[in-house]
């Protein structure tokens, strides 16, 4: 096999690339940018999917929300007792949570209430909080929330405006670990009691109820029973949430698809230009080569080496740039598609996933197409008689 690789043809191909100068440079630049753009898009989506899939199994199995006039309304805490009567239900916990709009910065915080004395929460919090201990007068905040509060000179505490218009001062007891910033950036965790006071939610009411089912195979059946028990309730299973994640990517991928189409379209214009035939100078070159004794296969081999060197060079450079762009520089410009323009942006530091599928996909979308687009017109010319081509 190695005897078939003709080093002289490779040397000639290199010479040919250099002779074409600006044309080769232009193709390399466009090819590199195209590869970098496509690869970056795939890297970002893959990493975010991975991020979401990591935590999707930790989500509640069933969430029960009350509706009133088709809007979400507070749910009666007594409903938990009824839910526990359903066969297969392991536990039912009423949650208190909601948004708090901080007008000064124009952002929404997500406030979660927990029972601070429950053992399970203490051990969980120990793992994700840098310091501090939760009590009725304190709260834990995400890194983004801290920045927003600091900008408004709330260093140690924050004044929440309660539902009745009065002020509730809550001390900042700790900040969530930076490792979970993508999840916790806009979050504030405090005791349920404090949260009820801020939102004006009565003791007998909750935002929603989380149901845990002993056997995961029974989730759908239990969800159905809950719907029958509370006909006006909205029952969301973790499968619904997984579908919603797909939804996110359908939406975001739509934007990416537009970029993808533009990139591919640009690439195919270049390919079309090449397929439409060789320039008279290139035809003349092929004719001379044939006249001095080159066979058709020699010409094709030389063109193959030429296009392969150029496209492989651009592909490798594109992948190197894409890796640096997405994971080292955190994808400037492209990240705005995901994080929007809110002031409460998380640091877009997505975790690195080496996805060979993406690399192969981009490779097969670019390199073989370019090689084929170079060889086919060359073959058309090379099969003609030398004097016809030169003339």
């Amino acid at each position: 096999m190695s005897s078939k690789i003709n080093i002289h043809l490779i040397e000639y191909a290199l010479g040919s690339i250099l002779r074409q100068g600006y044309k080769s440079l232009f193709i390399t630049i466009v090819f590199t940018l195209l590869t970098a753009l496509l690869t970056s898009i795939f890297f970002i989506t893959n990493s975010i999917k991975h991020e979401l899939n990591t935590t999707v199994d930790a989500l509640p199995q069933i969430i029960v929300q009350n509706t009133k006039a088709s809007r979400i309304a507070e749910i009666d805490i007594n409903a938990t007792d009824k839910l526990l009567e359903i066969a297969g239900v392991h536990s039912a916990n009423a949650r208190v949570w909601g948004y708090y709009y901080f007008q000064n910065a124009g952002v929404n915080f997500t406030l979660i209430g927990i029972d601070e004395f429950e053992e399970q929460y203490s051990s969980t919090l120990d793992g994700i909080i840098k310091k501090g201990e939760l009590d009725n007068s304190g709260m834990f905040i995400g890194a983004g929330v801290r920045e927003i509060m600091n900008a408004s000179y709330y260093k140690d505490y924050f004044n929440f405006i309660k539902a009745d218009g009065t002020i509730k001062k809550v001390m900042i007891k700790g900040v969530f670990d930076s490792d979970i910033e993508l999840e916790s950036n806009d979050m504030i965790v405090m005791s349920k009691e404090t949260l009820r006071e801020i939102f004006g939610i009565e003791e007998s009411k909750a935002t929603d109820i989380v149901v845990k089912v002993a056997n995961i195979e029974e989730i759908e059946t239990v969800a159905l029973k809950v719907e029958q028990m509370f006909p006006n309730a909205r029952v969301i299973t973790n499968d619904d949430m997984k579908l919603s994640y797909e939804n996110i990517f359908n939406y975001k991928s739509g934007i990416f698809l537009a970029l993808f189409v533009i990139a591919i379209f640009t690439f195919f214009i270049i390919i079309y230009d090449k397929m439409s035939g060789l320039s008279s100078e290139q035809k003349r070159e092929v004719g001379i080569l044939k006249a001095i004794g080159w066979r058709v296969e020699d010409v094709l081999k030389e063109k193959f080496y030429e296009s392969l060197i150029l496209s492989l060079f651009a592909y490798m450079l594109g992948v190197i740039l894409a890796l640096a762009y997405v994971y080292i520089f955190n994808a400037p410009l492209l990240r705005d598609i995901f994080i929007g323009y809110s002031d409460l942006k998380p640091a877009f530091e997505i975790s690195f996933i080496l996805d060979f599928q993406t690399l192969f996909l981009v490779f097969f979308l670019s390199v073989p197409i370019y090689v084929a687009a170079t060889i086919i017109p060359s073959w058309k010319v090379a099969t003609l008689e030398a004097d016809d081509v030169i003339r």
Partner: protein
């Protein structure tokens, strides 16, 4: 091998080396560690709320990052449907009859 071939060979070798070093660096410093993964799972199990802090368009996903005036749901904290016209008074079927 002439000078150009050697240069090309070195260039491809350099690219391969850069690629390998870059991937090794990213794998060691930017990939999700088991510790980080555990923290994320702990946090999500604590809050029980889906969505990363920047996702803003999907059903049953809370919309944390919506905070602009044009975001019609920005003040309403709930898990909601995808269709933004859900709460419109007249739905499209009624509208189309007129």
């Amino acid at each position: 091998m002439n000078k150009k071939s050697k240069l090309t060979f070195y260039l491809f070798s350099l690219f391969s080396a850069v690629l390998v070093v870059e991937i090794a660096y990213l794998s060691s410093s930017k990939s999700m560690t088991t510790d980080t993964k555990e923290k994320k799972v702990l946090f999500v199990s604590l809050t029980g709320l889906p969505d990363l802090a920047f996702s803003s368009n999907s059903s049953y996903i809370r919309h944390r990052s919506l905070s602009m005036a044009s975001d019609i749901y920005s003040l309403d904290g709930c898990l909601r449907e995808y269709d933004s016209a859900t709460y419109a008074i007249a739905n499209s079927k009624i509208a189309s009859k007129n």
